[in-house]
């Protein structure tokens, strides 16, 4: 980032290549809507370019970047609530077994490797997405930042503007809530896989 501040455009390209995917996943999990996530992602990087002069080296670039992304996500969520647009859960409407609209989980490409794994993912991912979306926003953002973006709790506290203890407290509540939700949905953590995690 300092190189980009000094006028090196290639440094910015390197930053984008390195952080684009985790930032996009954070935005995607936060907003729950792929097209809105793309808009917020683009807006985030534009804001990085515009505010490059304001960047202070004392802060981690990732912290600064996720702070921008998180604030834009919050703004987008507010605008969306004002418009009363359909949320991630809205298309589901009826019972879990009923025909659902295209939610986040269904719209995402299948990253499985084999047919069996692909079938399993196709079944479990909507449930996971639904469980994640059911979390309160402040718990969801902490879980996503830690689980998918790999941001330490201390830095999450900076991004969200609360204390580290509050972050950990929210994380505990998020894990408990997800565990309950998975149990309700009939998804067992042991069945979910082989013990691997995303970013941990």
């Amino acid at each position: 980032m300092l190189a980009f501040q000094a006028g090196d455009a290639r440094a910015f390209e390197a930053l984008v290549r390195r952080h684009r995917m985790p930032v996009f996943n954070f935005i995607l999990r936060f907003t729950g809507h792929p097209s809105r996530a793309e808009d917020v992602l683009q807006e985030t990087w534009l804001k990085v370019v515009r505010n490059a002069r304001d960047y202070q080296p004392r802060a981690k670039f990732t912290t600064w970047l996720y702070t921008i992304a998180r604030n834009l996500c919050v703004d987008s969520a507010r605008k969306e609530s004002y418009r009363q647009a359909s949320s991630l859960e809205a298309p589901a409407g009826g019972t879990p077994g009923a025909e659902e609209g295209r939610s986040l989980a269904e719209s995402l490409p299948d990253t499985g490797v084999g047919p069996e794994r692909g079938a399993y993912n196709a079944r479990i991912r909507p449930l996971l997405s639904r469980a994640l979306a059911s979390l309160p926003e402040e718990q969801r953002e902490v879980f996503v930042l830690r689980e998918y973006s790999g941001i330490p709790f201390k830095d999450i506290a900076e991004v969200t503007g609360v204390s580290e203890n509050t972050v950990k407290s929210r994380m505990r509540y998020a894990l408990e809530g997800l565990r309950r939700r998975l149990t309700e949905l009939g998804v067992d953590g042991d069945l979910a896989g082989d013990g691997k995690t995303v970013a941990g």
Binding site: F4, G7, D8, A9, F12, E13, V16, R20, M21, P22, V23, F24, N25, L28, R29, E38, L41, Q42, W45, L46, V49, R50, A52, R53, A105, L108, P109, T111, N121, I124, R125, L128, S129, L132, R146, E147, Y148, P152, F153, N165, K168, S169, M171, R172, L175, L178, R179, L182, V187, D188, G189, D190, A192, G193, D194, G195, K196, T197, V198, G200
Partner: protein, 395 residues
């Protein structure tokens, strides 16, 4: 493991599960987990949720908009390279308005001063002439001046002629000092409140008549007392005095640059006069050189320059210095003319009447008569041989 709060176990388990503990703390937690089934169960729950949500995986970021974003970044870099640095921008943001205000203020002040000078210069000159007359009339009663006894003729003394340029400089300096004094008074007069001090000063007659101008110059510049060698006109037969006599400009230099030549000259004449009086009382006829001729010449120059107030003052001083005979009558006639020009009618009539009384047939007397006939025919005394006679004012 000694928790500080009810959730300390879970916080440390979170840090342990996400690998944020130091190696030492990691070993401590591991050893604790071996003997604590509750913490082991909590950790298993955390790991189960993480395992489940790992199925969502990381989604690839869309490529749309990447090229335009990089182009925008390059454009921004070029723009920033041309723009000033943030510190300069902030500095300019602070200084530019201040400098602008200062420049406007200076311009406004200069404009005001220029307008003031341009507009007031003619008024100033006119007011100087108008106000000088009443002040002089109040401070210097003409009758008192003209009633002075004629100064004894300074035998063997000759006036030292001054170079014309030096005389003009002296006159200019004196007039400038007078302007400075009167300018201050005008501000008060224009407000309609003449200060008591000024009024008192105007009512008290001067001890030495005709020296108002010289006193003004002296007060303004405060020159040191003139040296005797500078005041005494050396006689040709006195080599020591001749050796001590400096050139006119050398005298100014001897008093320093702060002593204007005009002030010096008038101070010299005043000092000379007082010294002459002392000599009169004590040592009898002295080497004091009369200065009435010099003053007469200065008055001529003042008239040529249009400085009638100065001319009148110099003529009075010349008369007070003891001019006699033709020279006295000529001075009186010129004083009459100057006073009429200044609008001081009584003083003018008095001067003309003196000439007519002392030497009605002289050229100065004829000039005075003509002047009176023009300005005040009612006070003109009867000509010899004619029946009509107007009473002349008392001298």
């Amino acid at each position: 493991m000694k928790p500080q709060n009810p959730h300390a176990h879970e916080d440390r388990l979170l840090d342990f599960a996400y690998g944020e503990l130091s190696p030492q703390d990691t070993r401590a937690v591991q050893s604790h987990l071996e003997g604590c089934p509750k913490c082991s169960e909590a950790l298993a729950s955390i790991r189960g949720v993480r395992s489940a949500f790992s199925q969502l995986g990381m989604e690839p970021a869309p490529e749309a908009g990447l090229e335009s974003l990089l182009a925008y970044a390059q454009q921004s870099v070029r723009h920033n390279a041309q723009a000033p640095s943030p510190k300069q921008s902030l500095w300019r943001r602070l200084t530019v308005p201040v400098m602008g205000i200062a420049a406007v203020s200076v311009f406004g002040l200069v404009t005001l001063r220029v307008n003031e000078r341009v507009n007031l210069q003619p008024e100033f000159s006119a007011q100087l002439q108008k106000t000088a007359a009443p002040v002089a009339e109040t401070a210097l009663p003409p009758s008192a001046e003209l009633a002075l006894p004629s100064a004894p003729p300074a035998a063997g003394a000759a006036a030292e002629p001054q170079p014309s340029r030096a005389r003009r400089e002296q006159d200019w300096d004196v007039l400038e000092s007078k302007k400075k004094m009167e300018k201050g008074n005008w501000a008060k007069v224009s407000r309609g409140s003449l200060p008591a001090a000024k009024a008192k000063e105007a009512q008290v007659p001067r001890e030495d008549e005709g020296e108002s101008l010289a006193m003004a110059a002296d007060d303004a510049f405060a020159p040191p007392p003139p040296a005797p060698a500078a005041t005494a006109e050396p006689m040709p037969a006195q080599p020591e005095a001749a050796a001590a006599k400096p050139a006119p400009y050398e005298r100014d230099e001897a008093y320093g640059a702060a002593a204007p030549s005009g002030a010096l000259r008038l101070s010299e004449s005043r000092s000379r006069r007082s010294k002459g009086k002392d000599m009169e009382i004590g040592a009898g006829p002295s080497k004091q050189a009369p200065s009435e001729t010099e003053r007469s010449q200065q008055a001529t120059v003042a008239r040529q320059d249009g400085k009638r107030v100065l001319e009148a003052s110099l003529l009075r001083e010349a008369l007070a210095d003891g001019a006699t005979g033709e020279e006295r009558w000529s001075l009186l006639a010129r004083l009459c003319d100057a006073e009429f020009a200044l609008g001081r009618r009584e003083a003018a009539i008095e001067a003309c009447s003196l000439v007519l009384k002392e030497a009605p047939g002289s050229p100065a007397g004829l000039q005075a008569r003509r002047r009176l006939a023009q300005e005040a025919p009612s006070v003109l005394p009867a000509q010899p041989g004619t029946g009509s006679a107007a009473p002349a004012p008392a001298p």
